[in-house]
Amino acid sequence: MRKTLVAAGALLALAAGPGITSAMAQQKSVKIGFVSTFSGPTAVIGNDMRNSFELALDHIGRKMGGLPVEVVYEDDQQKPEVGKQKTEKLIESDKVDFVVGYIWSNVLLASLKPVVDSKTFLVIANAGPSQVAGELCSPYVFSTSWNNDQTPQAIGHYMNQKGVKSVYLLGPNYAAGKDMLAGVASTFKGKVIGQDLTKWPDQLDFSAELTKVKAAKPDAVFVFYPGAAGVQFLNQYAQAGLKGTIPLYTAFTIDELSLPRQKELALGVPGAQEWVNDLPNETNKKYVADYRAKYKSRPSFYGAQSYDAVGLINSAVVAVKGDLSKKDAMRDEMRKANFKSVRGPFKYGNNHVPIQNFYLQDVVKDGDELVLKTVATIVKDSQDEHHKKCPMKW
């Protein structure tokens, strides 16, 4: 009995999980707090975002409107409660002027209130929960990514083009997973014959769900498994004998970070994205070439969105000539999206979410290497549906 209690206590200690922290502080500069995941299996994403952010700062000489730029990086460990804590620390003790980052929708939703309440500018470099595009929109919150359902909506259109009649949807059970599955269902004209949400982030074995897919015999399967989970999913899809039998369509499952580990399993699996590394504009060419030279690897869309965050912030700081107290003027400047984005020019909707194109990306062989390639434009100037619920007008 005593041992049973001890074991139960050990179980609790494990559930709390290990973690690491970092910090620093200074004055008379543009202070940016960057929250992302720098530990655990998805740390590769956080590193790619940090690398791209640093590269973008190098490209502007690490100064904005004459002021030196200081960045404080914080690790959210992919946990909402940790993300909220780190965000509060950045605002209250580091007194940052901008908060940037956020990979995960659930972490962002937990961290949103302290930022908005303190009227600190927030530039979201990835997460796109529908609530932030709709009723929770704020004059201080901008996105350099998308709303969660836009990308899967593009894939829904593409499945219609391919004549898919029935689909099975799979994704993780958290804010983004629910938005993604709802997104596909909203544009797909065929029948959704089944859907499963799996425990996130710790369920990595999809045997029960794949068995259900096999029994349901759909025309196609749509999945959203970001980060390392995408590698595990493609692995198991092939092992279950489904690859080559039921075509797979994806959102945020295959990217430059997961592809080196997915390898051949990703060949011929289409996905939608607002940015692909081969987009032919000048800013993007410079970004991708310099990134590859500096870090010896390819940047991902997570990085591209972080690179754009620097452009957006810089445009605002330059417009007020470094007087960061002029928040209204900064907000008005940011609404113009007056900077050279790596995805090409775009406009902001009333909710500060980009109105932008979505491309079809495919995995192709380039010599020995597998690379992502833009194949077609699926949707032009897509705007999310939730902007109607956002009361902001300008």
Binding site: K3, S207, A208, A215, V231, Q239
Partner: protein, 306 residues
């Protein structure tokens, strides 16, 4: 019906995997009275070793054998270097020290193999599916996990129940002072048991690596389930761990597979889709709570433990 057979196999496979992990944990806890949170680290090391050695030797079997030997050695080294100092201390110290070991091993793996994780590639003869019943295709690899784990379970049972070493292990679990008074080298026995427990965890990790890939921190989540298994099974009991592991594996898989459809009968589809995954991940803990109410020492408490 066919769907049910396949889901049953999925559950069985997951349960047997949990058993491999829980067996070492329950032995170490039962015999040495040591709470070892770092057990999951051996699971992770097994996965990384297998991925590395398979790539080096070019042979899957060769990689697996080397990985098992390596985890056995690391386990024994950890026992000699760190664990020996902990036996006399209380459980809180065990938890603190082994939690530290988790951090140590996670960082060590990050230093050696990098943060991105590794793939363990299967040979083509394992990467196919077989027809187990007319019209039921099942993954050859998952089937082989079931076979290997069952074989290990039987071997473990025979060793513990029928051999002299097993007798010493059981004696150590009931009365440690008595067997050392009888002239048995208890230190050596402990090192051996700890090493074997580590190797079993390594085996679970390397088998899982081909499905889930090797990741830093992969042992922590599954170790929570392994603790649930040893609590349900009764601490120190191999038989209890076996039955509880299969039980937990089946509840987890069957819950995920059938709960959404069951809930749809009572709730709206949208509510069912949100409630089902939450409820199915709670199911195991609910069962654990109920079992603890009925049998506070678990289903099969080892003789001699209180």
């Amino acid at each position: 019906m066919l769907l049910f057979v396949e889901q049953f196999l999925n559950g069985l496979q997951f349960g047997l995997l949990l058993f491999l992990l829980a067996a070492g944990l329950t032995l170490v806890f039962g015999i040495m009275d040591l709470v070892n949170l770092a057990h999951g680290s051996f699971y992770m090391l097994g996965a990384y070793f297998a991925a590395t050695f398979t790539a080096l030797t070019g042979s899957f079997i060769g990689g697996v054998v080397l990985a098992l030997a390596a985890t056995l050695l690391v386990g024994m080294a950890v026992e000699v270097i760190a664990m020996r100092r902990l036996y006399r201390r209380d459980h809180l110290d065990h938890v603190l020290a082994t939690f530290g070991l988790i951090l140590f091993f996670n960082e060590l793996v990050r230093l050696i193999w990098g943060p991105a994780g590794m793939n363990l590639t299967l040979p083509s003869w394992l990467n196919t599916s077989v027809e187990i019943l007319p019209d039921v295709q099942y993954s050859m690899y998952r089937l082989s996990i079931i076979v290997v784990a069952l074989a290990v379970a039987i071997a473990l049972y025979l060793i513990v129940m029928r051999t002299r070493v097993g007798m010493l292990i059981r004696a150590g679990a009931s009365n440690r002072e008595m067997i050392s008074a009888l002239g048995i080298n208890i230190k050596l026995l402990y090192t051996f048991v700890f090493g074997v427990g580590a190797a079993l965890a390594g085996l679970a990790g390397l088998m899982q690596a081909a499905i889930l890939t090797a990741q830093i921190g992969m042992g922590e989540n599954i170790l929570i389930l392994a603790f649930v298994v040893i609590i349900i099974g009764g601490i120190g009991s191999i038989r209890g761990a076996f039955i509880a592991a299969i039980f937990v594996g089946l509840i987890d898989t069957v819950g995920r597979a059938f709960l959404p459809d069951l809930l749809k009968l009572a709730l709206s589809p949208a509510a069912a889709a949100t409630a089902a995954p939450a409820l199915s991940s709670m199911l195991i803990y609910l069962v654990m709570a109920i079992i603890l109410v009925v049998r506070p020492a678990g289903l099969f408490p080892a003789p001699g433990s209180r």
